[in-house]
């Protein structure tokens, strides 16, 4: 598994250098340079949204810093949560005087570090709330939904909370819509080939050339089943069935995200979308603002995830609100 890099230990910092050079709307900040924030800074009087997570998932997390989305992002090493200093920096830099929502995926390291950062920052009188992305249905049963991990569906929470914050809403309201967006979103992934962490000498998992794994996590964590590769339509059918079984769409409207994990061509994502759209049409569910592309990746992992974001009028309005970051623009 080949990689274009200079040194495994320089991977993250060189990625962040390139990202900010290519996109001047983003700048590196924080004591270790492991926070990405908007170049324009936080607008005074706006509720801030701080996120964070491990590297290796671009555009998530840092790529969604922008207007109508998140304000700052603490970034850790590949597949590791950001450290506590970066979390504190991200919260401070997102503070425009009306409080900060900490919005990130439900992973142990991220949670511990953002929790400790919040405890330390109580002395600085920065009021914070927390919403965790928990959309991966393969990472927990219905009964323990709060233990599920956050994957691609987190971007819908970014969008809803970001739009609400731009409206001038207070922290409670921004927190409420973020939680509502998380509750309305479900994701499942399928992996075709593994990735390799730059400092590791072998891939994160092995999968035979003719096998796929349903429900695999975005770090290569084992999924629900492993079997022979099936036709795309059969794979999509199972993913849609599992998603709708987990959360029936009572609003009659959804946004769907067909997301590439890194190495799967857009062509194949559109083949998946074609079938997913057909299935949703048969179920009499209207699709609003579909997203197809690489929104949350796992480096060179091959495969895809499908997220369904069930929307009512409020979430539809927030989804349609203007947003602008390097990887997602809503005019």
């Amino acid at each position: 598994m080949k990689k274009l890099l200079n040194a495994p230990t320089a991977y993250v910092d060189e990625v962040l250098d390139g990202l900010t050079l290519a996109h001047p709307s983003l700048v590196r900040d924080g004591t270790a340079g492991r926070v990405i924030r908007r170049a324009s800074g936080i607008r005074s009087g706006k509720v801030g949204i701080a996120s964070g997570g491990g590297s290796g998932h671009l555009p998530l997390f840092t790529g969604y810093v922008g207007s109508g989305l998140i304000d700052t992002c603490a970034i850790g090493n590949v597949f590791e949560g950001p450290n506590i200093d970066s979390c504190m920096d991200a919260i401070r830099l997102a503070n425009g005087g009306r409080g900060v929502l900490r919005l990130y995926g439900n992973y142990g390291g991220d949670r511990m570090n953002f929790d400790m950062a919040g405890e330390f920052l109580e002395e600085e009188r920065i009021h914070t709330t927390t919403v965790l992305g928990t959309d991966d249905i393969a990472s927990g049963t219905q009964d323990e939904r709060q233990k599920r991990r956050g994957v691609a569906g987190l971007i819908y929470a970014y969008k809803a909370a970001g739009a609400k914050a731009e409206e001038g809403a207070d922290l409670d309201e921004v927190t409420r819509v973020a939680r509502k967006a998380v509750d309305a979103t479900r994701t499942i992934g399928v992996a075709l080939a593994p990735c390799r962490v730059p400092t590791a000498d072998r891939p994160t998992f092995s999968l035979a050339g003719d096998e796929i794994e349903m429900g695999m996590g975005i770090h290569g964590e084992p999924g629900i089943w492993r079997d022979k590769l099936k036709p795309a339509d059969a794979v999509v059918d199972e993913m849609i069935d599992r998603l709708l079984a987990d959360q029936p769409v009572t609003t009659g409207r959804i946004s769907i995200l067909v997301n590439g994990l890194g190495a799967t061509p857009l062509e194949e994502l559109f083949i998946l979308y074609r079938r997913a759209a057909e299935r949703l049409r048969q179920a009499k569910i209207e699709i609003v603002q579909p997203l197809v592309g690489n929104y949350v990746t796992s480096m060179e992992m091959a495969g895809a995830s499908i997220s369904l974001h069930a929307i009512d009028d409020e979430l539809a309005t927030l989804l349609a609100a203007p947003a602008d970051c390097p990887f997602w623009r809503v005019p």
Binding site: T9, A32, G54, A74, G76, N77, V78, F79, E80, G81, P82, N83, I84, D85, S86, C87, Y107, G108, G109, D110, M112, N113, D115, M116, A138, S139, G140, R149, V197, T199, A200, D201, R202, P203, T204, F205, G217, H219, G220, E221, P222, G223
Partner: protein, 202 residues
């Protein structure tokens, strides 16, 4: 010496650093079966940072542990690394103002660190995590005041806990979702702790 001093801590860090050369990919491989395959690389980076932290002039054990905790926190935000830093912070609190502690206080130090890590991370004893290994070692060295006996007991306890949990299933984290598959595998955090105890106790 019948007391644990900052020199012992420095020697332990050096021993751990030396051991990581062989352990890094072993732990990565163990982690790749249950997680994302980076435990060895993360710990290598963390222990390198500990080794870089100059603790020679720290006036007390508490200051030494505190400096190491800050180094660990700066090195990573991973679950295991953050728990490790939490344990060091607890050790710092427990040794405030003391230049040395008797070896017999190692057990309460480990137990308090274990409890703080449980509170921070949310795992319980029996979940097949690093906490079970710390617990077993703490029990094994309880009441011992001879460093040779402490080292021997700690190493034995490490082997016992690895063997006991090898055929257990993981009950926490993503691995709990494929509990059956985790039978017959070492938890990477538990394995790391035991291997580092082996290296340090040598």
């Amino acid at each position: 010496m019948t007391a644990i001093t900052t020199q012992h801590i420095a020697a332990a860090v050096s021993g751990a650093k030396a051991a990581m050369g062989d352990l890094e990919q072993v732990l990565n491989e163990a982690d790749s079966k249950l997680g994302d395959g980076d435990t060895g690389s993360m710990l290598t980076r963390l222990i390198d940072r500990l080794a870089e932290a100059d603790t020679a002039t720290e006036p007390s054990l508490s200051d030494t542990f505190s400096k190491l905790a800050r180094a660990a926190m700066g090195a990573t935000g991973s679950s295991l690394g953050t728990l490790f830093a939490t344990g060091l912070m607890t050790a710092s609190r427990m040794t405030k103002g003391r230049e040395a502690i008797p070896w017999s206080e190692l057990a309460p130090l480990l137990s308090a660190s274990r409890d703080a890590m449980m509170a921070r991370g949310g795992a319980k004893l029996g979940d097949k995590t690093v906490l079970d290994a710390i617990h077993e070692v703490a029990l094994a060295v309880e009441g011992l005041n001879d460093p040779v006996a402490v080292a021997q007991s700690a190493k034995q306890a490490g082997q016992v806990v690895l063997e006991r949990f090898f055929n257990e299933s993981c009950k926490v984290g993503r691995a709990r979702m494929f509990a059956d598959k985790s039978v017959g595998m070492h938890d990477p955090g538990m394995l790391a702790f035991v291997k580092l105890v082996d290296a340090v106790a040598r």
